[in-house]
Symmetry: C2
Subunit: 371 residues, 2 copies
Amino acid sequence: MSASDNSNLPKQNFAPLKNDRLLRALRFETVDTTPVWMMRQAGRYLPEYKATRAEAGDFMSLCKDTARATEVTLQPLRRMDLDAAILFSDILTIPDAMGLGLYFETGEGPKFKYPIRTQADLDRLPTLDVNDSLDYVMRAVTSIRTALNGQVPLFGFSGSPWTLATYMIEGGSSKDYRYTKGFLYSNPEFLHQLLDKIAISVIDYLDAQVVAGAQILQIFDSWGGALGHRQFIEFSHAYNKRIVAELKVRHPDIPVVLFTKGGGLWLETQADSEADALGLDWTMPLDRARQVLTAQHKPLQRKKAVQGNLDPATLYGSPETIRSEVTLMLDRAYACGEKTGYVANLGHGITQWVNPDNAKVFIDAVHDYKL
Amino acid sequence: MSASDNSNLPKQNFAPLKNDRLLRALRFETVDTTPVWMMRQAGRYLPEYKATRAEAGDFMSLCKDTARATEVTLQPLRRMDLDAAILFSDILTIPDAMGLGLYFETGEGPKFKYPIRTQADLDRLPTLDVNDSLDYVMRAVTSIRTALNGQVPLFGFSGSPWTLATYMIEGGSSKDYRYTKGFLYSNPEFLHQLLDKIAISVIDYLDAQVVAGAQILQIFDSWGGALGHRQFIEFSHAYNKRIVAELKVRHPDIPVVLFTKGGGLWLETQADSEADALGLDWTMPLDRARQVLTAQHKPLQRKKAVQGNLDPATLYGSPETIRSEVTLMLDRAYACGEKTGYVANLGHGITQWVNPDNAKVFIDAVHDYKL
């Protein structure tokens, strides 16, 4: 059963969208100014986030608390003129729902009690009914979309199968992906079985987020860049491509952004998908990215917008530095002469040490840039 | 005083080199087969290394123990038909000699007791007399070169200024380079002062290694890939370029390999140096790398060989997998039709979990490949 015919979700009459700048840019339509948002914009750099999080308890409790997840999603929009909101959640919700026992150790990243290391582990993984085991995510999406009241579009998101598989196999984050790459090189069929299971859940998960109210989707392939060039195609991109293709069948009008951290070398590969935009970290000059994508573009294929790519550490700089870095970035983004097809963002999530005033300088600098 | 006129090093009459395959490949001369070595080839994947290390005590004691540092350098050459040896040492010897108090915590990476965070910290950094404070390194080089008896050429090496600066400022390894990038964006002059001091020591350090017996040099820019594209040029490459240029003045016949992990996107930038070869991690296809370098090549400029780039995790695979991955790699390395100018290697150091027999399969597969 596809999530889209699940009728236990209330049919909402959401308010009409007031700010469609970001959606227009992705469709290569004219925009009055450059749309901008920040990955992890609801986060620890905001004192009001820390206060709400403290009320909720641990991180996953905050994700599962509809009212507070809604509250933290909206917090950055009260401070800054952001052009999108993004569901407050975690990329590890799917493996958590699959029963891997997600927990967080203080000072360390996320961990899983039951990593996937054997065929028996793999066979035990359930096929998720996302509207059941991940109903808290869908409730948050609907609640946030309602609370936004049409102010800006709402991103839903998921981790990519490869990125989720690394966590599921390693049992947490990793420097060298010892076990995951061990399977890749010694038992690739095992890894493909796992990736296939995850991909099916990711499709249903993103589909359900759209039904619940998400207006745009992003796939985070946070660790795609750890793969070899051929292995990226086989073990990461192939699954992302399939997910995007299936989502385009179910929801042709919902744009999808594909973000592979460290994937700048492989833009040609990533262009081979129905994604509307590719996210870029700060290692890739935007003018070169747009050149590559233009050169790669084939008739009848969806034209690829780009999103990114300021180094989040830029926000440690002075307002003057932030403004000059933004100008240099936007000069490159529009060097091709096409004043659309671009969404400004950081090249990765904003860090907890950023002064929120500096984040606002970034957002305002993007909007102040004359197209 | 340059290290090269330091007369307290004994003038050695080293044995003539029997295997110059690697040096020939770097000069684009014909080779009988592809030269190959492995980064971190003297390491924890070898039981004999672990035994010698246990005798020496901690890691730095092993580096400072001339006989044992020589022993571990030679160990992998007894098992495998390697075409180069590399000095057994650490990239953090320079900051250690500068008084930062290097120590290793079990299960964690290297740490510094006294990180560089203020102008006073920076001003206190001594100008190193490398033959004094790093005399143990030079003794090891001479001892290893003597023990090699001309079997294969000996690599000396250093960390790049940027990579060393990240450790010196963060006080250890880092995920996001919070403090280093904080300086980069808020007080770049401070970072440049530090990089300048480090670069001066790196030049003297590599110079002294050549005088002591190193026949080829490698600069490890392990964290260069963390920088933005413009910042890589200003804060990493500019210093590497200067170091290589100065070494070429002092030792015109000593080849230099520049290895920036995650630097595949910036080969054009890296080509703008007098380095003889560029090292590549596994994200960059070798055929594309050689195409870029050929397109970039200017008359009178030193032609760039390439070194790399098998994913070290490949060695977790079966012998058949290793052999087929090696074949695919070498096919790409020589796709340009030029059967030289290439040194096979891993794209990063061999990991402690590799079966030494699999490392041997890799080395033999490279040599068995028909040019």
